[in-house]
Amino acid sequence: MSPAGAEPRRAARAPLSDDAWKRLLVLFIAATAFLSAVIGLLEVDAGARAAIYNREARAAGMRAVAKNSAAVVRVVYERERLAAYQALATEWLIENAAASAASSASAAELHVDSVRRLATLMDATRSTSTLLSPPYFDEDTYFADTIQFNVDYVVVPATLASEVDAARQLQGSSWNGKRELHAVCLTVIAVALFLFGLASTLRGPLRRSFAVVGMTLSTALAVLVLATAARPSPKMVDAALKSYADAVGDLTYAAYVGPLGQSETAAARAVKAIEGTTAAIDAWPEYAAAFELRGQARLIAAEESALAQSGEWPAAAFAAAAADFGRAIALGRDSGSLEDLLAWALFCAGSAEEAVAASQRALALSPEQRLRFGLRLALIRLGSGDSEGALREVEAALLYAEEHPLGSNAVTLREAVRALRRLAPLGWSGRETIERRVKEGAVSLIHHGKATPQPLTARLSAPVFADADGKARITFPSDTHAVRMHIGATDLATGASLVGVVTRDGIEQPALGWSETWTGSATGSIDRLIGAPSGLTIFHLAHGEYQVEVYVDGALANVGTFRVE
C-alpha cells in the first residue's frame, strides 16, 4: 500500500471536532425525544384499548351473574310447575285406579268425574310452563327433561357469558402487556437521554462511549417498540365461543346421564360435544379451553362407548383425548384438574408411567384435591398391577378427606365407586379389595366423617327378600311397589350406625337407601322396605337387578341381591 493511499484512510478516521460532536448529540437528543413521543402515543393507545376491554370484561361479568341468577329463578319456577303437574298426575292415577276398583257404577262415576277434572287441570298446568311443553316434555311418556332445560337456560348462557368475559379479559391483558412494555421503554429512553446529556458535557473516549451506548439503547428500543406494536392481539371469535358454550351444554348433559346408567345417550352427547369443540377450534385454533373440553368429551365418549362397556378400552380415542389435554396445557391452560384428566387419558391410552407423572403433577398443582386426584392415581396404580401402591393411595386420599371435609366428597367418592365397578370386566388383580375399601371409606366419611370404619363385631345373616305377603323370593313381578328385607343380627351394639346402599343395575339409588341408629337389643332383626316409605304407592320399583349393601359403623357387613322383572 502506497503512503498516498494511506492518507485518505487516516482522514476518514480523524476524530470529530467538539462542534461536530455537539451538533451530533443535539440531533441524537432530538431524535430520541421524538421516539419517546411515538412510544408515548403507542402507550396511550394500548392503555385506551386495554381500558375498554377491561371495562367490557367487568360489565360482561356483572351481566353474567345477573343472567345466571335470573336463570336459576326461572328453573326454580319451572320445577315448581313440574312438581304441581306431577301432583296432579299422581291424583289422576289414584282416581283412575279407584274408578277401576269401585264396587258400584255410581261410585265409579264419581271417580271418573274426578279423573276428567284432573285431566283438564293437567292440561292447564302444562300451559303455564316451558318445561312442560315440547321439546322438554314428551307427550307420549310424560317425561320432562329437566337436565336439558337446565342446560339450555342455565349452563349454556352462563358459559357463553363467562367465555365472552374471559376472551375480553384476555384481550385486555394483551393490550395491558403492550402498554406496560411501552411504559418501560419510556423509562429506558430517559436513561438514553441522560447518557446523551452526559456525553455533551464530556470529551474524549468517555463521550464517545456514552454516545454509542445511548444510540444502541435508542435503536434497540425503537426495534422493540415496533415489534410490540406489530405483534397481533388475540381476536375474539364469536362463533367459536358459541360452539364452545353449546359443547359445554352437551357435555354437561352427558356427565349427568352417564352416572344414571344412560351410557348410550351420554356417549352420543359427548360425540356432539366433540363436534362442537372441533368447530370452536377450527374458528379459533388457539382456543385452549376448547381443547380441554374436547379432551373431556373424548374421555366421556370413550368411557361410555359400547366397546368400553364390554370391557375393551378404545385406546386410540383416549390417546386423542390425551393429545387435546396436552395441547391445552401447551396453550397455557395448566391446572390440577387438567393434569388429572391427562393422567387418566394417558393411562387408558397405555402410557402408565407418563400417567403417574401427570397425576403427581396434578397433586402438586392442587394439593387440596388430594381425595379426587389420589383416588384417580390409585386406579392408575391398580391398572398398572401395583395393587399395594393403589391401596396406599386410597388410604392417603381417604385420610386427607377426613382431615379436610369438603362438600364434594360424596360426589367424588360415588364417582370412584362407579369407576371401580365399571372396571370390573378388565379383571384387575386386587380391584375387589380396593372397591370395598373405597365403599367403606365413602360410607364412613359421608355418615360419620371418618375415613376408617369401626371393626366389625356384629354378625348379620344373609338378607332375605320377601313380597307384601311375606313370601321369600329373589325375583319379583313388574308391579312390585316395595320389597321387604329381613336380616338377622347378633352382637349388634345399641347405638351402632346402620347404612343401606341400594344399587339398580350397578347405579346407586340414593332414594332407596337408608341410614339409622340401632336402638334394638344385641340380638334382633333388621327389617326394611326397599321402595316407598309406606309401601302404599302407585309407583312400582323399576325393572332391574338390585343389590343391597348393609354397613355397620362404616364396615360392609352384608350384601344381598334381588331382581324386579
Binding site: 455537539k22 451538533r23 443535539v26 440531533l27 437528543i29 432530538a30 431524535a31 425525544a33 421524538f34 413521543a37 411515538v38 408515548g40 402515543l41 396511550v44 393507545d45 385506551a48 381500558a51 375498554i52 371495562r55 367487568r58 360489565a59 356483572m62 351481566r63 351473574v65 345477573a66 343472567k67 341468577s69 335470573a70 329463578v73 326461572r74 326454580v76 319456577y77 315448581e80 310447575r81 304441581a84 264419581l110 268425574d113 277434572r117 283438564t120 287441570l121 292447564a124 298446568t125 303455564t128
Partner: protein
C-alpha cells in the same frame, strides 16, 4: 448569511422562541390529554355502576316476577278446580254429593283467593279472545324496570359512549404531540445547522407547529 451577522442572530433568537413556544403548547396539549383521560375513566366508572345497578334490578325483578307467576299459577289451578267442581255441581242432583261438591268448590275458591292475594293484581290481564285471566309478565317487567330507572341509572351505554369519545380525544391529542415533537426535532437540528440550513429547517418546523395547533383546536371543538 454570515454566522455572526445580525440576521443570523435574530434567526437564532426566533428559533429559541419557537422552541419555548412549542414546549409550552406541548405541555398544554399534555394537560388536555390528562383531562380527556380523566373523563374517560369517570365515564367508565359511571357506566359500570349503571351495569351493576341494571344487574341488581334484573335479579330483583326476575325474582319478583317468578314469585308472581308461581302464585298466579297456584291461584289459577285452584280457580280452575273450583270452576270444574261447580260445573259438576250444576249437573248433580243427589243432595249428598251436591253438599260434598259445594264444600270442595268453597275450599278451592278460598285457596284461590289466598294465592291471588300474593299476586300483583295490576298485571292480571284478560285474554280478549278466550276471556281467560293471565299474568302479564312482560308488562310487569317493563313497568318495574321503568320504575327502577326513575331513581337509578340502568343504562350504561351513554356513559360508555362518553368515555370512548374522551378516550378517542386523548389518543388523537397524543398524535398531535407528534407534530410538536417533529417541530422540536427540526428546531433542534436548525439550532446546530449551518446558517443556510438553519433557515430551511426552521421554515419546515413552523407549519408543523401551526398544523398541530389547528389539529388540537379542532379536536377540542369537535370531539
Amino acid at each position: 448569511m454570515a454566522p455572526d451577522s445580525e440576521g443570523h442572530v435574530r434567526l437564532k433568537i426566533a428559533i429559541g422562541i419557537l422552541v419555548a413556544t412549542t414546549t409550552v403548547l406541548g405541555a398544554l396539549v399534555g394537560w388536555r390529554i390528562a383531562v380527556a383521560s380523566g373523563e374517560a375513566g369517570a365515564g367508565d366508572s359511571r357506566g359500570l355502576q349503571a351495569v351493576q345497578q341494571a344487574a341488581n334490578a334484573g335479579t330483583s325483578i326476575s325474582t319478583f316476577l317468578s314469585t308472581n307467576l308461581s302464585f298466579f299459577a297456584e291461584y289459577q289451578e285452584h280457580a280452575d278446580r273450583a270452576a270444574l267442581v261447580e260445573r259438576a255441581l250444576a249437573r248433580e242432583a243427589d243432595p249428598q254429593r251436591r253438599q260434598a261438591l259445594e264444600a270442595e268448590a268453597l275450599r278451592e275458591r278460598s285457596l284461590a283467593a289466598a294465592a291471588r292475594g300474593y299476586v300483583n293484581a295490576d298485571y292480571i290481564a284478560v285474554d280478549p279472545e278466550s276471556g281467560a285471566e293471565y299474568f302479564d309478565g312482560n308488562r310487569f317487567w317493563d313497568a318495574q324496570w321503568a320504575e327502577t330507572a326513575v331513581t337509578e341509572d340502568l343504562n350504561p351505554v351513554p356513559s360508555f359512549a362518553r368515555a370512548d369519545q374522551a378516550r378517542t380525544r386523548a389518543r388523537a391529542l397524543t398524535g398531535v404531540t407528534l407534530g410538536f415533537s417533529i417541530a422540536l426535532f427540526l428546531l433542534s437540528a436548525a439550532s446546530v445547522a449551518s446558517p443556510r440550513r438553519m433557515r430551511v429547517l426552521a421554515a419546515l418546523a413552523v407549519p408543523c407547529i401551526v398544523a398541530a395547533c389547528i389539529a388540537a383546536g379542532l379536536l377540542e371543538v369537535l370531539l
